[in-house]
Amino acid sequence: MNGLPGLYTVVGKAAVQTQFQYRTANYAYMLGMVAEPVVYLVVWSAVANSRGGSVQGITAGEFAAYYIVWTLVRNMNIVFTPYGWEHRIQQGDLSGMLLRPVHPIHYDLAYFAGWKVVVVVLWIPIAAVLSIAFRPTFHITPLHVAVFFLAIWGAYLIRSMLLWVLGMITFWTTRVSAIYDTYFTAELLLSGRLVPLALLPAWAAGLADVLPFKYTFGYPIEVLAGSLSTSELFIGLAFQAAWIAIGTALVAAVWRVGVRRYGAVGT
């Protein structure tokens, strides 16, 4: 295979092989990550029980479903970190990437997409244990499953693009940690990662609607674990498509200006 499809196949396969070598490391990482939703789940189940079974209409079983699907969506959300840009630029890794005949984002997209295959395989036992421990309630139809499959890849693309744009700030300044912290905090609160968006006060939920974060976290989770109507399912996909388009345009624009500021090591 030639061209981009060929590149994606080769890089993706290489990622699968590399990451299977590090399965213990991957597992430890995933187990550390599971603690976060389990804590949220326990807290909200306790709140639901103290109120006679549900919070804002969400029962303990639905919280369990939400946070179990959360673990998969969170893993789909792992993309090239903006902190990695500092390393890329300091070490001059970017120079090598610039010599290749395709835009460097394709390597990141292909590599992390391949890694997801490993992650999903490793995730299945974790999900099984969590399901036995917390007894989630699902109301799923084949349509939900199909939309979920599209939505997690939509989430992956949106987050890849946005974090690339964020990372490229490093072309201008290396004092980026405060900017990243602000971004990640906004994301934490307004994406549905911390709590289902239905629990936020109305003004915050309204804000979440117009920001991209919801479409990388809360929306894909609710496709499988919530009770979205058919039209809501498709409106969500449309918003995802829009955010992918916006993200791609931003990556292209910022890259064009930013890469001119890049001076490789030795210049």
């Binding site: 490391a25 990482y29 550390g32 603690a35 389990v38 326990v42 405060a178």
Partner: protein, 261 residues
């Protein structure tokens, strides 16, 4: 005595080193405040829906949060940097340089590094504890403060022992970098009192990962949930854990084959 002087010297050198990078203080402070702000937002969301969580009120949970932030700061300032250095040294074989020194190896590997600015969390956590305690209804009994300090010291030792136990695994399995992630993930559970977790998790967070002794017990002393028995239990547990850790450390050293073999 000599050990104390040695510890003092190490800390001083570490702190002098960090004082070269004073701007990092501002960044650590911003980071710490953002993280505390987020936690308070979560507390507000939870207590917008209920008045008490397994018998804990919002004010009491603020005390728990303060202790969580403070102990987290201690870990990030001293425990974690040293343990990461230890794991790296075992992997590289550079632990030789520590073991050939005429002082106790465990002491040396535990005090070599200080990330002073990460200690901002100690101050932020302390302030949070004071504010939260003052705002609690009723007066805090006189005995509560020394009980809190004792429980906090014991809990910090327990968490340190747990970290050292985790790190000694490096003597058997060399690649251990995800351990930090794993610990960070589990430590987050300490944000809430362990009594809210279902049975099996509660046992795990008490005995396997000593979150109960590091965070919940000290906070209980201030928030009036504790009893003398809890503090006594903490003394017994920490002593036992420290003894086991010492034993495992000795065993692990026997496994260590150095850089040249």
């Amino acid at each position: 005595m000599r050990a104390l002087r040695l510890a003092g010297t190490f800390l001083r050198v570490g702190i002098l080193n960090e004082l070269q990078y004073r701007v990092n203080f501002a960044f650590s402070l911003v980071q710490s405040l953002i993280s505390v702000g987020t936690s308070i937002a979560v507390l507000a969301l939870v207590f917008g829906n209920t008045d008490s969580l397994h018998g804990w009120t919002a004010g009491e949970l603020l005390v728990v949060m303060g202790v969580y932030v403070l102990v987290g700061g201690l870990i990030k300032m001293i425990v974690q940097p040293n343990m990461q250095q230890l794991m790296e040294d075992v992997q590289q074989g550079t632990l030789d340089f520590v073991l050939t020194k005429p002082a106790d190896g465990q002491l040396l590997v535990s005090l070599r590094r200080v990330q002073l600015w990460q200690g901002v969390d100690i101050v932020v956590g302390g302030v949070l504890i004071v504010i939260a305690t003052v705002r609690l209804p009723g007066t805090v009994p006189a005995l509560a403060v020394p009980a809190f300090v004792l429980a906090l010291a014991l809990g910090s030792v327990a968490i340190y022992c747990f970290w050292l136990l985790l790190s000694t695994v490096a003597f058997w399995v060399t690649r251990l970098d995800p351990i930090v992630e794993l610990f960070d993930g589990m430590y987050q559970a300490g944000r809430w009192p362990v009594s809210i977790y279902p049975g099996w998790l509660r046992v795990g967070f008490t005995i396997l990962v000593p979150l109960a002794f590091a965070v919940t017990v000290p906070a209980s002393a201030l928030a009036g949930h504790g009893s003398g028995w809890l503090v006594l239990g903490s003394i017994g547990f920490t002593a036992a854990l420290a003894a086991v850790t010492r034993l495992v450390w000795r065993l692990a050293l026997r496994r260590y084959s150095g850089a040249s073999s």
